[in-house]
Symmetry: C2
Subunit: 441 residues, 2 copies
């Protein structure tokens, strides 16, 4: 297979929500309570909800910037590619990167919608969350049939309401919802509590996949504030390791054999070690921990329930049989800084050189389409119209000029010191600081 023949479905990208997103999905009486874009005194755009600010509207939406200007920015819509928040431009950015379809996690309410769970007025928060999902499903995803995998947020303060929202969005074709890596981060009972059963049941009844995005429950604490920022960036995917142990050894997966979990941005190269480790633990310790998997091993449970994904992961591709070729998918992570956009096909092909065409198809799109019930080929008029080559042919006019000077920190002369974990944490705190003014006032 050559690069032009690849078909790419990305199970993890991000949407930066546009300022007008709530306008068409709320009754007039609720509109004044909706989150709105405001500017602080430095002219930075931020979402405001219940009087609270959410810094970092772009949340690392740096696609198209030169790498020396990356950072945990941008702080304004005018600092990012329109494809971050404009669906028509997003499709063009997908085309130029040869990506057929995309699942888009949110930005300002957090990847999994934690914002709504921290609201004081939960009745209103539920209305806003539903409007958010309606915008995502009926406006963003529906604009281009076959090009998006819809993903809903759920009200993370009431498991019954969560189950209701699963059923509500499933009825209009959305079969994926997102949870944090650790649900106790939003003061819910742990996943080991039977209180979760109505939610698990709703997911099984509607064939809804639970997507767990890295960093949803918060970033891992760096070893120290003066540690290199790489300590945060390197360690986040491995959070999935801990979340996966918790799930594999839970009663939930054994009580609900149809539950399906997607580990979003978790990487894959660590999984064979992880499977060795949980099987070894089970073998050595089940007699006193009283875990009972019957005739199975913990690794069998993982392989039945989980879908994994990667951006660039040569070790994981080499170990695909140990992971299970049918459990691997690919992601682009547009527009975040780990994304290989707009050269994703070329980068991916480096890892796939020694892989059979059938395995390539499984990994690049077939597994994702099966797991998330995406029928893109028929909607697009056949596979031939879905390949990297076919999509790129429609994107010859997409402007790939680098966004120089649009944000980030230029080196300030002298030898710049290395960026620490504390620098990035301070950057976020600074963004919150200072008086804000409402953009419309």
């Amino acid at each position: 297979m050559n690069i032009d023949e690849l078909v790419l479905v990305s199970v993890d990208d991000h949407v930066v929500e546009p300022p007008d997103m709530f306008e068409r999905h709320l009754a007039p009486r609720h509109r004044d309570k909706a989150p709105r874009i405001v500017q602080n005194k430095r002219g930075e755009d931020m979402w405001q909800y219940e009087g609270q600010l959410r810094p970092n509207v772009g949340l690392n939406a740096v696609a198209g910037r030169p790498p020396e200007e990356y950072g945990y920015e941008p702080t304004g819509y005018d600092q990012m590619r329109r494809g971050c928040f404009d669906v028509h431009e997003r499709i063009r950015d997908m085309n130029v990167n040869g990506v057929l379809a995309s699942m888009c996690f949110g930005s300002f309410p957090s990847f999994c919608g934690k914002l709504w769970a921290t609201a004081k007025d939960k009745d209103t928060a539920l209305i806003m969350l539903r409007a958010y999902n309606d915008w995502h499903i009926d406006e963003w995803c529906a604009a281009y049939p076959g090009r998006f995998i819809p993903l809903a947020q759920v009200p993370l303060w009431d498991i019954g309401l969560m189950a209701d929202e699963v059923r509500r969005v499933a009825a209009k074709g959305c079969h994926a919802v997102t949870l944090p890596e650790n649900v106790t981060c939003v003061d819910l009972p742990s996943i080991h509590d039977e209180a979760w059963d109505p939610f698990w049941k709703a997911c099984c009844d509607t064939s809804t996949v639970i997507c767990i995005h890295i960093g949803s429950a918060g970033s891992p604490a760096p070893p120290s504030l003066d540690a290199p920022v790489e300590t945060i960036m390197a360690g986040v995917p491995i959070n999935c390791f801990h979340a996966s142990v918790d799930l594999v050894f839970s009663r939930a997966l054994r009580r609900f054999p149809d539950l399906r979990i997607a580990l979003s941005e978790g990487g894959i190269g660590w999984i064979p070690y992880f499977l060795d480790r949980i099987d070894y633990l089970y073998e050595r310790h089940h007699a006193w921990t009283h875990q009972d998997f019957g005739k199975e091993r913990p690794s069998d449970v993982f392989r039945r329930h989980f879908l994994t994904c990667f951006i660039d992961d040569p070790t994981g591709i080499k170990l695909r049989d140990a992971i299970g070729v049918e459990r691997i998918s690919w992601e682009c992570d547009y527009p975040h800084s780990d994304s290989t956009w707009p050269n994703a096909p070329e980068r991916l092909m480096e890892s796939l050189a020694a892989v059979s065409d059938d395995d390539i198809d499984a990994i690049t799109h077939r597994n994702a389409m099966r797991f998330f019930q995406l029928d893109a080929f028929s909607k697009m008029g056949g596979r031939d119209r879905c390949t990297v080559g076919a999509l790129r042919a429609q994107a010859a006019d997409v402007d790939l000029t680098l966004l120089r000077g649009k944000g980030g920190k230029a080196p300030t002369g002298g030898t710049p010191r290395t960026v620490t974990a504390g620098d990035v944490m301070k950057q976020l705190a600074t963004a919150l600081d200072g008086q804000t003014k409402t953009k419309s006032s």
Copy 2:
């Protein structure tokens, strides 16, 4: 190579300190301040120092128990094999398992001696720590030349004193010291602080290896108290992932190219993914984080400075070339519950079936001997006297009868529920509870 021809050097085992350990290593005027064994009202043995109790004298020293009686015990010397704390019996337990040589981490002061850093009277703590090291080097290890790799604890409250202790123990042949995964856990400056330079320099000057044992900085917090205890056990080795990023991107390794680090009980199967990940991060982000590895990649730095080890790690063995065959060693973890004692050779050989004899020798002993300057062959009278077969031939009379009913919790009828993280944490808290009486009173 067959099993009897293997030569096994274990770079991670544990000693349970015997009650009389301080007697021969303190001047008489200091003896009444030394840690001592006391019993609580349930008759459990504990170390007491500065009036504080250290629960769990055995710290999971369950070797020889049936698996249904494992747990975070035992709580008394009479509940464990004598080989845990008696060096002569230890050698017999090593022989019966075919293990030539062993590095032994401590138990009651924590693996890395955190106890001394929490002492109120630091002058006395330094005297006790030195007595501890003297006992370890001059009594425990010296009893059987060639059979132990000495390992010293350092005073984790004063970097200058730490450097002094490195030089003091090196002068009597100890070329390994232990640090926690994150030194800020003992209120030291982070490893990125230049204050560490005297310690790094002392290690380089004396060819002393820094051993970082998993769990030294504390166990990872479980996802929830009702999470399965497996969430703690599975996740601890992966702590090394975070500690390794911190070190690889530190200035310390670039300023001190002779520094050598051993990741103790970290496992190895995750390392190829880790190396992919840090190289990818560097490639994508160095332009804004200002990290500069010159012509090298972060993975090159890791491979030059680190020694890794594993207990049972089939994926890691398959990936040995991606890790670097010269950077892998083996450990037994006697007497803890993850150990495969007394069948370590048989279990290890399952992973080594497809490995060349030269790679087997590198992994099972040659790398460890080189890294830690262990000259066991000449001390033992040649390799032929160091093999699994030769050692086991001396151990025909070692009693391997299981220690039934010596501790642990027998199921109490009905269907036992699974053991949670909270159960184990409560078990530790309970051990601390209650009045104590001095054994000798």
